[in-house]
Point group: C2
Chain length 214, copies 2
Amino acid sequence: MPVPSARPSKKISESTVRRLSLYLRFLEEADGNGVSTISSDELAQRGGTTSAQVRKDLSVFGSFGKRGLGYSVPELLEAIREILGLGDAWRVALIGAGKIGAALFSYRPFQERGFHIHAVFDSDPAKIGERWGDLCVRDDAHLEQVLAEQKIDIAIVAVPGEAAQAVVDRLAGAGIRGILNFAPVPLHAPGHVPVRNVDMVVELEGLSFALHNG
Amino acid sequence: MPVPSARPSKKISESTVRRLSLYLRFLEEADGNGVSTISSDELAQRGGTTSAQVRKDLSVFGSFGKRGLGYSVPELLEAIREILGLGDAWRVALIGAGKIGAALFSYRPFQERGFHIHAVFDSDPAKIGERWGDLCVRDDAHLEQVLAEQKIDIAIVAVPGEAAQAVVDRLAGAGIRGILNFAPVPLHAPGHVPVRNVDMVVELEGLSFALHNG
DNA sequence: GCTATCTTGTGAATGTTTTCACACTCTCCC
DNA sequence: GGGAGAGTGTGAAAACATTCACAAGATAGC
């Protein structure tokens, strides 16, 4: 009988974590609507999965529900926030001040979930010095220095594919803890630095495949 | 002994298609560098997987390599292009002319791979009429009409989460063939309309989880 | 307190994806 | 033309993920 815990010993699958993230969103919405209790089945329908899957996902971390009743929305909300490490704000740097960088810089959902951008870098002299909100776009020559000064945890890489690996090497060297990559190339980072890829081309080509093949 | 074919009968896994997309990129690069032959192992290292995985992925579609030698770069390139349905250009519409929409509109990698945006929509009167390249941002009231006129295949949804499901319902009703969704909500579309989600929040939260848990 | 009803938590079964390991084919060189 | 080396294609095994199905805990009504 597992006790609720955010640090299970055994390995958690990436798909479980992905789904937790979705459950969290639905819980936030339900909470906002004053719903106080929710069943695995409701959670499942919303997230496009099954109730058994929801229960399995949660059971990895503990027992959060009440049999016959379901889950307390505020409690589960809090539990998943803790599991996902969203308790404190994360300090984020944005590398690349192009159009994508600009879109991410003011992307509300990031801010709302505690991902705060504390530095923006670019290598283009035309961009360096631009005022973005209460930050200035900085010369990426100062990357290592500013990363340390600002105690940055996570870097969002939004540079062209050709430049991405070099940036990642520097980030890793500077002790970054995690990387979210928007460049359409698979990146190589040291094993202890998790990298997540948001590859829009892969997704679009996946769609192309699905349309092309019946 | 399977013959090379782009229309295998059995179901192809999503991860296989994703990886094909990555192999394709590396092949394009190798081809650009004048490399004429490549092994599954080289392909694997680049894509962060194993040579057995590469061979299995390809074997689903046929036999493309030569034993003892590897794969002919131009041949495999062409084969994967065909498998992914990248032979002809796709006609794309962009729904949502905010910052993300703007970034996607001028995203080179889409254009280079034959995804051409032929219409941009928004519901904000301040945006409607803006000139974007050689297009005008159109009132999304005309969505259905323009989709048909322009023979649009794929819609890229870049609207706020709250508005996304309604947009998808209209797109599905208007006979769209596929949807690439950037809104941070799981969308429900009819079974015959494939939907791909690019959920940046899920990825960032996945990173948060990884950092928080050892 | 008893019964009926609901919904969780979870082993076991099933299904899917990845990895292993090796027979087989092709090339090159002597 | 035969032997060595390289690297594919693929069944079989292992790992991993999802679904099933049901016992057990919780509630509500009487």
